[in-house]
């Protein structure tokens, strides 16, 4: 590499070729950065043509945007964990547990909805702390630790609910989440936008966001730069669980109740969203707006397919394929980013 550097410094003839290459490189990078939006536009166009009467209607748009708030927030839990280099596969179970705790406390034990929500969020913090202890203190690989935790929490949910679906959560929560406000958009969408801005600010504009990135990319370099690596990793896992619990609050508000199993279905779409999100806006990095766009792109596809009347299995097929494609593309994006 040293030889290459000297060569390009001494040989003036190599300059034009190099700059031409870098211009081409920049164009490629630009295309890569916004490819997701092009794909999104195509998806919308195709479904508008195929389903002119239902797809691009105000009602479909607002319901799509509002109904996926839970998924977007859950995706943000993964953004935080993955930025710090940790996999958290227990987030969907935390979401389910959180919504179930609210339902049980509020409907069976008649506890004030605010207190119920606080209890659910506290449980999120607790789960994150335990995850962190196992991963950071004991040194278990995060994917294994959280896989175990996810199964454990699913068991807890079945146990405390007796396997039953509960309904009848306080109307005030339901109102705060699903009732349409601005232009037919529910408040849940407003929460999502606020959460996105907050996450974007933390990751891009606060030192702690940068530090999580450094730790996620190289624990060794971070440690030798004086960062408190253990604390940051632990903090990221706590934050991820807390955000997942918050997604559970939204879920309880959206459905007005809780069931012991359906939350698990969010896990794969959330992973697809976070990896697909890392291909756009800031390619090669897990980022807030990229994940936001990615989730809605995926949801648009699912929504369109369901309008044409394609069967349920398509959803699994679509999210699974999207995850594989997204991870492959973000891998390539990261490789390209490191070469420029």
């Amino acid at each position: 590499m040293a030889a290459k550097g000297m060569w390009s410094r001494r040989s003036p003839t190599s300059q034009p070729a190099a700059s031409g290459k870098s211009r081409e490189h920049r164009i490629h990078a630009y295309i890569g950065k916004y490819a997701l939006f092009a794909a999104w536009a195509c998806t919308i166009l195709v479904f508008t043509v195929v389903e002119p009467h239902t797809f691009l209607t105000r009602q479909n748009i607002t319901s799509t945007l509002s109904s996926q708030a839970v998924l977007v927030v859950l995706t943000y839990a993964l953004v935080v964990a993955l930025t710090a280099g940790e996999y958290d596969v227990s987030v969907a179970a935390v979401l389910t547990l959180s919504s179930m705790v609210i339902a049980i406390l509020n409907t069976e034990d008649h506890i004030n909805i605010v207190l119920s929500i606080l209890a659910a969020l506290a449980i999120g913090l607790l789960v994150g702390a335990v995850n962190g202890a196992v991963v950071v203190v004991i040194g278990v690989d995060s994917i294994i630790a959280t896989l175990g935790m996810g199964s454990l929490l699913s068991g807890v949910v079945l146990w405390i609910s007796g396997g039953n679906t509960l309904s009848g959560i306080s109307n005030s929560l339901v109102t705060l989440v699903v009732v349409p406000h601005l232009f037919g958009l529910s408040l849940s969408f407003i929460y999502v936008v606020a959460a996105t801005i907050l996450l974007w600010y933390v990751l891009s504009y606060l030192p702690v966001g940068r530090r999580l990135l450094y730790v996620g990319r190289s624990r060794e370099v971070a440690r030798l730069t004086g960062l408190r690596v253990s604390r940051l990793r632990w903090g990221a896992l706590i934050a991820a669980s807390f955000i997942a619990a918050a997604a559970g609050v939204l879920y309880a508000g959206t459905t007005g109740g809780a069931d012991p199993t359906s939350g698990q279905a969010f896990l794969l779409p959330a992973f697809a969203g976070v990896f697909l999100g890392a291909t756009t806006i800031q390619p090669g990095r897990f980022n807030a707006w990229g994940s936001f766009a990615a989730v809605y792109f995926l949801v648009t596809g699912i929504d369109g397919l369901s309008l044409i009347g394609i069967q349920v299995f398509v959803q699994d097929l679509f999210y699974g394929a999207a995850l594989i494609v997204a991870v492959s593309v973000s891998m390539l994006a990261r490789r390209r980013a490191s070469a420029s």
Binding site: M1, A2, A3, K4, G5, M6, R9, Y201, S204, Y205, L206, P207, R210, R211, L213, Y214, R217, S218, E220, V221, R223, L224, T225, G226, L227, R228, G284, R334, A337, S338, A339, S340
Partner: protein, 535 residues
């Protein structure tokens, strides 16, 4: 190979025939001639020592032989008199009875001794692994060379100084397995600094094993820094200096002084015979800005040092002497067991040092491996350089990317990074520029003590000179610099004072006009003799 089958049975006279020869080996790295027309001939029944100081071309030669580096054209390899083309694939080498033990021993620590010893057999096993036969083989191999090691033990549970022995015994076993069908054939064992991290008693055990192999008629090429080892165990010595053969001589009848002379060049090394050992060290006059007292930990024992403001102090020694541990212990990358750091009338216990505390005290470490320890290569120059100073870029509750960009652009221009573009990723820069980025990351701070470990490893000549001047200018602004290195030229050029370590202790200190390449080299090798005569 077919000729070999017709060979007469092995006789003693055969031992004097060369098993392998390398001829006319040259290698250029960028602008530097690492090897220049080197010839070496290794005979059967002979232990052949390859000596030379750091950068003399020893490891390049071994890497060319093993096929890791490609030699420049005209290089020839003869095995049993037959020409072979370099690089020779590993499988062919193996089939000719060649076995390598590299500095990285190639053991898998989490597996058992048995699984490590029989790795070749397990990999090439046809249908079913006959564990009983393998266990028997491992036991007999260990017993043959007098190793009292349980084959079922996990390698990571064994003391680290036993591991080179396992790797060597494995290499011998592999070599013999290949040539077992023909009792007349002889193989070659190539050992790259096997004893560097071994304890005294296991080293003498290793020497016994090496002798045993040579006495069976095989050839052994032993790369070493250690003169005593080479004088004790070899029959023939080749000394490399600046990529050329400085001398070839029979071990019998040679003296240590003659070897030092060949390694250093000229006779200068003789006059400056080993400087005073540990007892002779007295603290420097004048106000000491930073003191280190009784530092213990890793391989360092009771080290006491003083550094003044603006002083560049080098710490060096043979591999395994602990010189490279001094830096990591001071920074708290590894925990010291005892020791105090003194400055401004404060005494900080080093046993509780961590990297973040060290930084708070104004101590930073530039690690030797810039791509895995120093920088995050896939992030940009701006991301990397701003890492320790993020907070200074906060305005109204947010980090200003623009501000980082402008500041870092300024820094990289001052440090001579080309291109001076903070938006480039570190991995896209050349080695020398990466190293300058790494220095910019730390030299932007006003530090009390900067520790650098091998600061110009893998850096081209031009960048090397620039890095020296950056470090000197930084020291002049009032910081102390501690440079841990084995590069004698670098130490001579950069340092005001050089401390030489031996077996974890400070053995000699050179100051002022004594800090030159010849004296540093002579002191390193001279000291190693002093030390080895200790009980």
């Amino acid at each position: 190979m077919s000729e070999d089958d017709n060979r007469p049975p092995y006789t003693l006279a055969e031992t004097s025939k060369p098993i392998f020869e390398l001829r006319n080996v040259s290698k250029r790295f960028g602008g530097e001639q690492a090897l220049n027309c080197v010839d070496i001939e290794v005979r059967g029944g002979e232990v052949h020592g390859l000596l030379g100081h750091n950068g003399s071309g020893k490891s390049t030669l071994i890497k060319i032989l093993s096929g890791y580096h490609l030699a420049d054209s005209e290089a020839e390899l003869l095995i049993h008199g037959q020409p072979y083309r370099l690089p020779l694939p590993a499988t062919v080498f193996r089939s000719l009875g060649f076995s390598f033990v590299h500095q990285d021993l190639g053991l898998i620590p989490s597996l058992s001794v048995l699984e490590n010893l029989c790795m070749d057999e397990i990999v090439s096993a046809g249908r079913r692994i006959n564990w009983r036969a393998l266990a028997q083989y491992a036991r007999s191999l260990l017993a043959e060379f007098g190793l009292n090691i349980d084959p079922k033990a996990t390698v990571s549970e064994l003391p680290p100084w036993n591991r080179p022995l396992i790797a060597v015994v494995r290499a011998i076993g592999n070599m013999r397995a290949v040539i077992a069908d023909d009792p007349g054939r002889r193989g070659a064992l190539i050992l790259d600094e096997p004893s560097a991290r071994m304890s005294q008693d296991t080293v003498s055990h290793l020497h016994g094993v090496i002798r045993q192999v040579a006495d069976l008629g095989h050839a052994v090429l032993l790369v070493s820094h250690n003169l005593d080892e080479v004088l004790k165990v070899t029959d023939w010595i080749t000394v490399l200096r600046d990529g050329q053969v400085a001398g070839e001589l029979a071990t019998a009848g040679t003296s240590r002084a003659r070897l030092v002379e060949l390694i250093v060049g000229g006779t200068h090394g003789l006059s400056s015979a080993p400087p005073g050992a540990a007892a002779g060290f007295s603290p420097a006059a004048g106000p000491a800005e930073i003191g280190i007292s009784d530092l213990c930990g890793a391989s360092v024992q009771d080290l006491t040092l003083r550094l003044r403001r603006g002083e560049i102090v080098g710490v060096t020694g043979l591999v395994g002497s602990g010189f490279d541990d001094v830096g990591v212990l001071l920074f708290g990358e590894r925990r010291a067991t005892a020791g105090l750091l003194h400055f401004d009338e404060r005494a900080v216990p080093l046993s509780r040092m961590t990297p973040d505390k060290a930084l708070a005290l104004g101590i930073a470490l530039v690690p030797p491996d810039r791509l895995t320890q120093g920088c995050i290569p896939e992030l940009t120059v701006a991301d990397n350089v701003s890492m320790p100073t993020l907070k200074s870029f906060m305005t109204a509750g947010a980090i200003r990317q623009q501000k980082i960009h402008r500041q870092v652009a300024d820094w990289v221009r001052q440090f001579g990074v080309t291109p001076a573009d903070p938006g480039k990723t570190v991995s896209s820069l050349s080695g020398g520029n990466q190293q300058k980025v790494l220095l910019a990351k730390w030299l932007q701070l006003p530090l009390r003590l900067l520790i650098v470990i091998e600061p110009t490893q893998g850096v081209d000549v031009g960048a090397r000179a620039e890095i020296f001047s950056l470090l000197k200018r930084y020291a002049m602004r009032g910081s102390a610099i501690l440079c841990c290195s084995t590069d004698q030229d670098q130490l001579a050029e950069l340092c005001d004072t050089v401390c030489i370590m031996h077996q974890g202790r400070l053995a000699a200190t050179l100051r002022g006009v004594d800090v030159n390449r010849e004296q540093v080299t002579a002191a390193i090798f001279g000291v190693s003799r002093e030390g080895s005569t200790e009980p």
